[in-house]
């Protein structure tokens, strides 16, 4: 039970991180959203067996984590939390694709393992970048930014609420799990029937709660429009951030930097 409760507190930590004031936090959400999207798009666009060329892309999350004063360990943990999904997507590759692709001395690495590594790396990079975006912009900022970028209002609002709803859901779940454990006297595991009741009850409770929250929002004049305390303003700094990173991404896409450096080193030594 403590596990669920603490993971709830952890989500709220993203919010706390997002309310910091650093250079990166001060950038316009739109600049960060578009940069992140370009980053994800380019990382995903690499051919299936690419590994080395992906490595330089870690620069982006690393630099942002440093500048925005984010805790790397915490973000890494969150990436790991989602890693099983990527793992199951990629784990069949070594079985399907056993042709040897790389020879490291006597050991041959099959194409399947290479593409598995590539999938995991891409996954880490894209999820990491998305988390950095949330931790530097906040979900409200992202919602408002998306709307300004021309995303349908309903989509932006839904996204913002989905995130809030996650809090409500984990909160209710934590309370319910605690209530059950207090009356189950140390019996481990949950009977399937009880589990079913609990899930059903949880849904009803969250729906009720979400409805009350929505009512409270309406009472304070919410009209379906996302508003931020400081209106968005796209400045030269935002432009520079977007243009600088995007050109770097494109360069890293076109030139395999580790390979190129390797060649350079061997040339100098030779």
């Amino acid at each position: 039970m403590p596990k669920i409760e603490s993971s709830f507190l952890d989500i709220s930590r993203l919010d706390a991180l997002a309310s910091q004031r650093t250079l990166i936090h001060g950038l316009d959400p739109r600049a960060k959203i578009v940069t992140t999207l370009i980053f994800i798009f380019i990382v995903v666009s690499f051919p299936k067996h690419e590994v080395t060329a992906l490595v330089p892309f870690t620069l982006y999350p690393v630099v942002l984590i440093a500048l925005a004063n984010l805790p790397p360990g915490y973000l890494f943990q969150k990436v790991l939390l989602a890693a099983p999904f990527a793992f199951f997507v990629g784990i069949f590759n070594p079985l399907l694709d056993s042709e040897v692709l790389i020879h490291l001395g006597p050991v041959g690495i099959s194409g399947g393992w290479v593409s598995f590594a590539s999938i995991m790396l891409r996954f880490g990079l894209t999820v990491g970048a998305a988390l950095v975006l949330v931790a530097t912009t906040g979900m409200n900022g992202i919602g408002a930014g998306l709307e300004k970028l021309g995303a349908p209002n309903s989509f932006a609002v839904q996204l913002t609420f989905l995130y809030r709803y996650l809090f409500v859901l984990t909160d209710e779940a934590a309370r319910m799990v605690r209530a059950r454990s207090l009356r189950s006297f140390g019996i481990k595991g949950t009977e399937v029937k009880v589990f079913g009741y609990m899930i059903g009850h949880l849904l009803l409770r969250t729906m009720d709660r979400a409805q009350r929250i929505h009512q409270a929002m309406l009472c304070r004049g919410f009209t379906g429009e996302l508003r931020l305390p400081v209106p968005l303003k796209f400045s030269w700094r935002d432009m520079g951030f977007l243009a600088g990173w995007s050109s770097l991404f494109i360069l890293m896409r076109l030139v395999n930097i580790p390979q190129w450096m390797g060649l350079l080193v061997t040339e100098v030594l030779g």
Binding site: A16, N140, R212, L218, R220, G221, F222, P229, P231
Partner: protein
Amino acid sequence: MSHHIVEVKDLHYTYPDGTAALGGVGFRITHGESVALIGANGAGKSTLLLHLNGCLIPEAGTVRMGDFPLTKKTLPHVRQTVGMVFQDPDDQLFMPTVYDDVAFGPLNLGLPPDEIEDRVMEALATVGAAHLRNRPPYRLSGGEKRAVAIASVLSMGPSILIMDEPSSNLDPKARRQLIHLLKSFEHTMIIATHDLDMVLDVCGRTMILKGGHIAADGPTEEILQNEPLLHACSLEKPLRLQGCPVCNPVRA
């Protein structure tokens, strides 16, 4: 200042599952009055309050806030006039920080940024919560949450305040502070509560709701002294009006 008047006529409401919650409620509250709404659990207090700012639409009867009847068209205006503090502050506080939460209403009113900042800080100062501005609301204590929930409504500059059990879950000191705060307001106030001692302090007028009807409506001192009436409505005299339990042991 007729726009602070609250007038309810023959209000009926049945929940979608068939529970008849209100069966013909009517009253009129004038500017600056502070009215307590009391009654047993399930008497319909919360249901009634939800009608006063259009969260629920009456099945029959009318609600007038100030000069307008409450309709879809007047709803935005009414919601700006009426500040509603919910029974559970967790339902009301949903933004990442206290500041954002208190700013939510003014933002929706489309006010300029400086004005929003002023209003937020003023509202937080009024409830004595200015030091909490950067804290996430879900990590506050019950009393702090309540204070912030009240601030989040005050920042919209309402002229009518509606509160559902504002003193529940508060420790004696926080409750006393709340009472001081409520007494300092010049708003028209409607407070649904089980805290009859607070009613004695804050409200000049009391209405008793019983089974979806108004069972009594009058000056607080008269109503809270009327033991047969209170008893019939599953209520008790406020402790302060009861005799000392040590000198006069209560008959069982």
